[in-house]
């Protein structure tokens, strides 16, 4: 009939630059006002910054050398103004849409910078500790969030990460204490993570139990059983059962010698290195392999996957079980990676924070890692501020990352889209 084909691209012309799609405009104004608020807080902090010098400690524990001082107020002011310029440029559409991410990042850095100048004015801020601590807090969060990414990309909601952490932490402590082998401890933790995952998988995939309720039940179960075993055995015989070896740091040659970042990033335990590797591997597997394609398809449109001959349930099982490995290792970090002993409910809600990181990272492994690092940074900052004593109570600051999560999840910052079939069991007739 008519000669035209129907792709809108050939039919539609880009709107003149002066006209903005209404949805974009709303988003720009919403995100923009949020950015402005942050920029202005940054500026306000700068104004209230004491004169004098803010000193940053660049090597952990070294109070004499390797210090880096800046004039506190001047630096804070410069950063504050830069932040306002970044936010303003976004709101007033002074840069192309595609650069807006950089503006937001710039603002974030400026904000944290002014904040640190304000907090450290006239004092010494242990910057190396700050980064070291960030990594410590973030490692289990990253592993947990990766586990969540795998499950939810396959369409199974995993609220039980917290429970997997707990059993992983417990098992690692006991196995390390009794066998003295760190490798055995990590393997055992991964296996118990898989065991929990198997419960999640069977009940959600086979018996179609509501996945949120199921996840919560599994957390309670994990807390109960580890608590019971702790009381029964670990407390009785703490010397033999609850004295795991903490993994020792392994310095990577060359990389570990880079000034400042070297010791922080490349003088770490094997578990931290495994975490880096896991981020890369999960990203690659999910987006570049056959298995990953299938996992994503059953999480988005299981029926479509079924019609091309994919066994939906089988793929979901495998994703949930592999996620169990990651979550179990994340749990092991609490005992053999950090604390050196197990205590009741020691994971303290980190499994749920990992879930928040997953959402804030938009179901993407790299995004989840960045979000986890951000959460870790804020948590560590809070404890540092208590040490150097600032006027803002640390607890208040501890809220900040979760506030940010809520803002992100509420869709204020761009479109957040969960896998389409996330949490929906697949039933065939």
């Amino acid at each position: 009939m008519s000669e035209t084909t129907t792709t809108p691209d050939t039919v539609r012309v880009p709107a003149p630059a002066a006209i903005e799609a209404p949805a974009d405009r709303t988003r720009r104004l919403r995100v923009g006002s949020l950015m402005l608020v942050f920029a202005l807080i940054g500026l306000l902090l700068a104004i209230f910054t004491n004169g004098g010098k803010a000193t940053f400690q660049l090597v952990s524990g070294d109070l004499q050398n390797n210090l880096f001082g800046v004039p506190a107020q001047a630096t804070a002011l410069i950063l504050g103004i830069l932040g306002v310029i970044a936010a303003g440029a976004y709101v007033l559409r002074r840069v192309p849409q595609s650069y807006s991410g950089y503006l937001a990042t710039l603002l974030g850095i400026c904000f944290i910078g002014s904040f640190l100048c304000w907090a450290a004015a006239g004092k010494t801020f242990p910057l190396a500790n700050q980064f070291q601590g960030t990594l410590n807090f973030a490692t289990p969060l990253i592993l947990g969030a990766l586990a969540g990414v795998l499950c939810e990309r396959a369409g199974v909601i995993n609220i039980a990460i917290e429970g997997q952490f707990l059993v992983g932490a417990f098992t690692a402590a006991v196995v390390s204490s009794t066998t003295g082998s760190s490798a055995a401890a990590l393997i055992a933790a991964a296996l118990t993570g898989v065991l929990m995952a198997a419960l999640l998988a069977v009940f959600s995939i086979k018996y179609l139990v509501n996945q949120v309720v199921l996840g919560v039940v599994l957390v309670v179960f994990a807390s109960g059983i580890t608590g019971y075993l702790f009381d029964q055995f670990l407390q009785e015989d703490a010397a033999n059962m609850n004295t795991p070896d903490v993994l020792s740091a392994v310095k990577i040659p060359l990389l570990g010698d880079i000034p400042f970042f070297g010791p922080i990033l490349f003088n770490q335990t094997i578990l931290v290195y495994l975490t880096y590797i896991a981020v890369a591997v999960v990203t690659f597997v999910l987006f570049e392999t056959r298995w990953g394609l299938r996992v994503r398809s059953v999480g988005e449109h299981p029926k479509a996957a079924d019609t091309v001959g994919i066994r939906v349930k089988r793929v979901r099982y495998s994703a949930v079980l592999w996620a169990g490995v990651l979550a179990g290792l994340g749990g092991a970090f609490f005992t053999v990676g950090y604390a050196g002993s197990f205590s009741k409910d020691m994971t303290a809600g980190n499994g749920f924070i990992a879930l928040a990181a997953l959402i804030m990272g938009r179901w993407n492994p790299i995004g989840a890692m960045v979000a986890a690092l951000f959460f870790g940074f804020a948590t560590q900052l809070q404890s540092q501020l208590q040490i150097i004593q600032t006027p803002i109570p640390g607890e208040l600051l501890l809220m900040a990352p979760y506030l940010a999560t809520i803002i992100a999840v509420a869709g204020l910052v761009g479109r957040v889209r969960a896998p389409k079939a996330d949490g929906e069991p697949y039933v065939t007739e």
């Binding site: 129907t6 006209i19 209404p22 394609l293 994503r296």
Partner: protein, 519 residues
């Protein structure tokens, strides 16, 4: 390629007390195009889903080249060389075209790493061979439905199917795309592929079928020759004589009801979808908006309802400004809306038929009272609507998602046509609906017009436009290129749909008469 002789023998499938397929026998000869005709809910999709392994038959067997085969899942069907294009798209929207096509049969290098180059090459090769234009790297959610349909077909072809099932593939296609598809089907047939083709468009059946089988209420009721007239086919399907063209008196338009001035809509990607459109619809007339899919009609309809924000312009109903008002305000002001994509925007699949029939009226008497719903009234209403619109469902308590494709459509139509309206906006109102129901719906919309409602119909079907319209507005690239009388020749409309102005179209159409509208 090996040819396949396929025989379905005594296939039976029940859903609860409903027998959707009752001992169906069907033979699909190698290299033939076998059309399945039947009303909405007759059981066509059910039968094909059994053949493809998505449903398991209660009784009966499937024979390939004389041997009984067990098909427990789609992978069994694929292994036997059966391919299917489903009535509802089976594409993953966030995947690229190439990813969708290789899904389930991925090309990999070592250790399961996807070989995207190879997949892209396959897409390019298949689309060149069949004259499709598809970008392998495009995300499926970003491409228009017509192109998505091509992707579905390429997907089925990629498996080297010996039998290809096409379940209403043309419902969402434009006439040009249908021509393309028919050419592809001929090409496949020449290579020995057998095709089972399901459609409600009798013209297509006549153009391409080798064999026609008619199913009614789960049973095979007969077969027909492609030489049969459309009227004969329609009668065989529905079981009574059907008027393919509605009777209607000339319109007696009253005052202007809908006035649109300078309406501009920018789509999500920043493209101009509707570009300064002015329109008027008067009481008691049907204005049809014609155009090739994707020229802004959908956005125009959505903007009228307030479902898409507008960048500029004014919309008024009976002289009251509606610009910037909420969708609920507009519904309350007396606009009825039949969305184009009813499966997404028209109903809540997991709600019952009865609930869906009062979806936009549940707040008001008689269905809502204070905080509660009057379930007896809702039930009564449901019974009446199901009766009136001939919605085939076992019970009004059943979830709409379990109805057949066409009956789902009818639920939406029944709801929107059952309350007092000033303006009815209907996008593709009869897409996917059988001929008997088209007759009823067309009559119904003309009656709505005669009651003094202003009716705006968006349609890509020239048949439908010819049957219903009093005036035709042709849209091209977001602009109305002209408003012409309903009796404008098809050639002229076709040229205008390709962007010619009214006067240009007149000249060209008289100088080069074409075969437009033969199919």
């Amino acid at each position: 390629m090996a040819r396949m002789h396929l025989e379905l023998s005594g296939l039976t499938k029940s859903f609860g007390s409903l027998v959707a397929n009752d001992h169906i026998d069907l033979v699909i000869e190698p290299g033939q195009i076998h059309c399945l005709l039947g009303e909405n809910g007759a059981g066509k999709s059910t039968l094909m889903n059994m053949l493809y392994g998505l449903l398991q038959p209660d009784a009966g067997e499937i024979l390939i080249d004389g041997e009984k085969v067990a098909i427990h899942s789609p992978s069994d069907a694929i292994a036997q060389g059966i391919g299917m294009v489903h009535q509802h798209f089976m594409l993953v929207p966030v995947f690229t075209v190439a990813e969708n096509i290789m899904l389930g049969r991925e090309y990999t290098r070592a250790v399961g790493v996807l070989d995207r180059k190879k997949a892209d090459a396959l897409v390019t090769e298949l689309s060149e061979r069949y004259g499709f234009e598809v970008d392998p790297e495009a995300l499926v959610e970003d491409i228009p439905v017509g192109v998505q349909q091509r992707v579905e077909i390429i997907k089925a072809l990629a498996n080297n199917a010996r039998v290809l099932i096409l379940d209403e593939p043309t419902a969402v296609l434009t006439p040009a795309e249908i021509d393309e598809l028919i050419a592809v089907m001929r090409q496949l047939k020449e290579n020995g592929t057998s095709i089972v083709f399901i459609t409600h468009k009798l013209k297509e059946v006549k153009a391409i079928a080798d064999t026609i089988t008619v199913i009614r209420r789960g049973k095979v009721v007969g077969s027909a020759e492609p030489s049969a007239t459309e009227e004969e086919l329609a009668e065989l399907m529905v079981g009574r004589a059907v008027d393919l063209v509605v009777d209607k008196d000339p319109a007696t338009p009253g005052d202007t009801v809908l006035r649109v001035e300078g309406l501009t809509v920018i789509d999500e990607r920043g493209f101009t979808a509707v570009d300064g459109v002015d329109l008027e619809v008067r009481a008691g007339e049907i204005l049809a908006v014609a155009g090739v899919q994707g020229n802004g009609q959908t956005e125009l309809a959505e903007a009228l309802l307030g479902l898409t924000p507008i960048a500029a312009g004014r919309i008024s109903l009976d002289g009251n400004d509606l610009t910037g008002r909420t969708t609920r305000d507009r519904l309350d002001a007396g606009i009825g809306y039949i969305p184009e994509d009813r499966a997404h925007d028209g109903f809540v699949g997991s709600f019952s038929v009865a609930e869906n029939l009062v979806l936009d009226m549940a707040r008001r008497a008689p269905f809502g009272k204070g905080l509660s719903l009057r379930t007896d009234e809702i039930e009564k209403n449901a019974q009446e609507r199901v009766e009136e619109f001939d919605i085939r469902t076992q019970s009004t308590d059943l979830a709409v998602s379990s109805l057949s494709g066409g009956n789902q459509q009818k639920v939406v139509l029944a709801r929107e046509l059952s309350r007092p309206l000033k303006l009815l906006v209907a996008s593709q109102p009869t897409r996917g609906v059988d001929v008997g129901s088209i007759e009823f719906l067309h009559t119904r919309m003309v009656k709505e017009r005669d009651n003094g409602t202003a009716v705006l119909i968006v349609s890509t079907e020239l048949d439908e436009i010819a049957a219903l319209a009093d005036r035709v507005a042709v849209m091209y690239r977001g602009k109305v290129v002209g408003v012409v009388p309903a009796d404008t020749p098809r050639d002229e409309l076709g040229l205008m749909m390709a962007g010619a102005s009214k006067s240009e179209a007149e000249v060209v159409a008289t100088e080069n008469p074409t075969t437009l509208g033969t199919i």
